[in-house]
Amino acid sequence: MNLEVKSLDCGYRKKPVIRGVDLVINDGEVTALMGPIGAGKSTLIKCILGVTRRFRGCVCINGKASVTMSHREWAKLIAYVPQMPERPYAIKVLDVVLLGRLPHMGLRPGRRDYEVAYEVLEELGISHLSNRYVHELSGGQYQLVQIARALAQEPRVLLLDEPVTNLDLKYQVLVLETLRKIAREKGISILMSLHDVNLALKYSDRLVFMKDGKVVAYGLSPSTLGPSVIKEVYGVDTKVVWIDGGPRVII
């Protein structure tokens, strides 16, 4: 299933902050959303999710527009991981992951819900944490828990707002590798915003650059990225080097 965004204008209160965004994110692919701070990356992600005010345009999954679906239906399709997720006190990891089953479950989690939760925890390699309290975990571990929660929703699209910005290198690599693996194995479309260009080049299939609320460059596969794009978006002079068959950006 692919996610399609057409002529999207969205923002807060009266004025749109993002204008005329057109985007397609294909299934099985990881798309990195990049741009300077304030470019509107978070706003775009939240708008696709449906939390920010949409002035114009539509968001469609497999041709079906979001406004034609019920809240619950939409929740079954799209999952979201915010940049700094809130951490509830005295709640266990398993409980948080089970919350991902909300769009699917009745009043209480059933056996299937528990099964999915265990599976997801196993896949991400954090089943040993299932009985720990979330407030005891490190930032990276909690990020993985949030991703597990999002995966428990069994979504077709996964939106992540700066999933690795606050993590150390070990967890940055772990999270990004896991995301890429999940996209391939489950055919999920992943859109994530990133700051680090090199991480984006290594771990994503497509890049989208935003600046001042507009999409500046889009759909570039990592192999066609040039210093001109980076100069335009970030205003920094760089050089593209090829290492191990992939491009890397040197400042």
């Binding site: 939390v51 951490r87 709640i91 266990k92 919350l99 009043l107 009985n131």
Partner: protein, 365 residues
């Protein structure tokens, strides 16, 4: 995939163990409620043999015993309403407090900060003052012994307060900060109103009556009030049904929305229901605090923050603590009965201090 599923079933499922523990705890607490109820009906200033009390209670359902009329009257119209209203009071306030603290993401939230209790106090004060020949009408019947005016007035104004907070939240966005600010503003407004009434009424009896009412006493509850008070228990069913959604709110509004929760609608509904619970209880009993603040915090230490468990355990524990407080209020200085609001404050205030002292940075408000 098939192999993996087999392994899962063979493992001892941890979720069974967790639920079992809280079920056992809840059963223990519930039995405690029965025990405390049995003790509470027996304590009181009117001397009655213990056996008579239970016989009178059984008689109410199946008349098989012969008892003197005064015993039956005292048990059915004094002891029973006190004990049952203690249970209702504790259960509904504790559940309201648990829900509010989760919804507002603040462990110091209580129905008091919604302004409902203060508004009830104002309504009662107004009724009392009018009865004592206030500004407009002179009554010749001492209104203080006739509660017919006080209870509806208290309920009217507490409902007004609830609706005001609801309206403000509806218009300005149902964020926790908005709700708390609105509630505190309403609380101050009505507290000030009550003080002004006491001042301008210029009647020491009225002032005394208002002060006494506000302390909260179960003695004022009549048997016929109980069905109305019991209405405040109904929202608990709703809370249990949406407990998973309340949990989702704890992950943040955006995430909750992504999980299909109507964040604004849910928050507004819960505010209204908890305020109604407080209004229904406080209008009959007076201002009783601390139950909704303290009990959920204690339950949280025992069963954690999972709302499904927290709400049930808080409800039962609330009934326990209020019954215990009622018993204490009767046996502390016989033959006087200390108003229950005072006893609960006696328990609650040191507990809050303890919470502050042992804080050690563990609590995230």
């Amino acid at each position: 995939m098939g192999d993996f599923v087999t392994v899962t079933i063979k493992k001892p499922r941890p979720e069974v163990g967790r639920t079992l523990r809280s079920v056992v705890l809840n059963i223990v607490f519930a039995l405690l409620v029965l025990l405390l109820f049995a003790v509470d009906v027996v304590t009181g200033t009117y001397k009655l043999p213990i056996a008579w009390v239970y016989k009178a209670l059984i008689n109410a359902v199946v008349p098989i015993f012969k008892l003197p009329t005064d015993a039956t009257l005292v048990v059915l119209h004094l002891r029973l309403p006190e004990a049952v209203s203690a249970i209702i009071l504790g259960a509904s306030l504790a559940s309201a407090g648990a829900v509010l603290q989760s919804v507002l993401r603040n462990y110091l939230a209580s129905t008091y900060t919604l302004g409902v209790s203060a508004a009830a106090g104002f309504g009662a004060a107004l009724a009392i003052v009018l009865g004592f020949g206030g500004f407009v009408i002179k009554y010749h019947v001492p209104v203080i012994t006739s509660p017919y005016l006080i209870i509806p007035m208290a309920f009217l104004f507490s409902s007004l307060a609830a609706l005001t907070v609801y309206a403000l939240a509806y218009l300005k966005g149902a964020a926790p900060s908005v709700i708390i600010l609105a509630g505190v503003a309403v609380m101050f407004m009505f507290s000030m109103g009550t003080s002004m009434l006491q001042y301008f009424a210029d009647n020491p009896d009225a002032t005394h009556a208002i002060a006494m009412w506000m302390l909260g006493s179960l003695e004022n509850v009549r048997l016929s009030y109980l069905p109305y008070m019991a209405l405040s228990l109904l929202p608990i069913i709703y809370y249990s049904a949406v407990s998973a959604k309340i949990d989702a709110l704890g992950l943040g509004d955006d995430v909750a929305h992504s999980l299909g929760v109507d964040v604004r609608g849910l928050r507004l509904t819960l505010i209204l229901l908890t305020a109604f619970q407080a209004a229904a209880v406080v209008s009959f009993v007076g201002i009783v605090g601390f139950v909704d603040l303290v009990i959920p915090n204690i339950s949280r230490l025992i069963v954690g923050n999972n709302n499904a468990r927290l709400i049930i355990t808080s409800t039962i524990m609330g009934a326990d603590v209020t019954l215990a407080a009622d018993i204490i209020s009767r046996v502390l200085v016989p033959p006087y009965v200390i108003p229950i609001g005072i006893i609960l404050s006696l328990i609650g205030a040191p507990y809050l201090l303890l919470m502050v002292i042992t804080r050690s940075g563990r609590y995230e408000p």
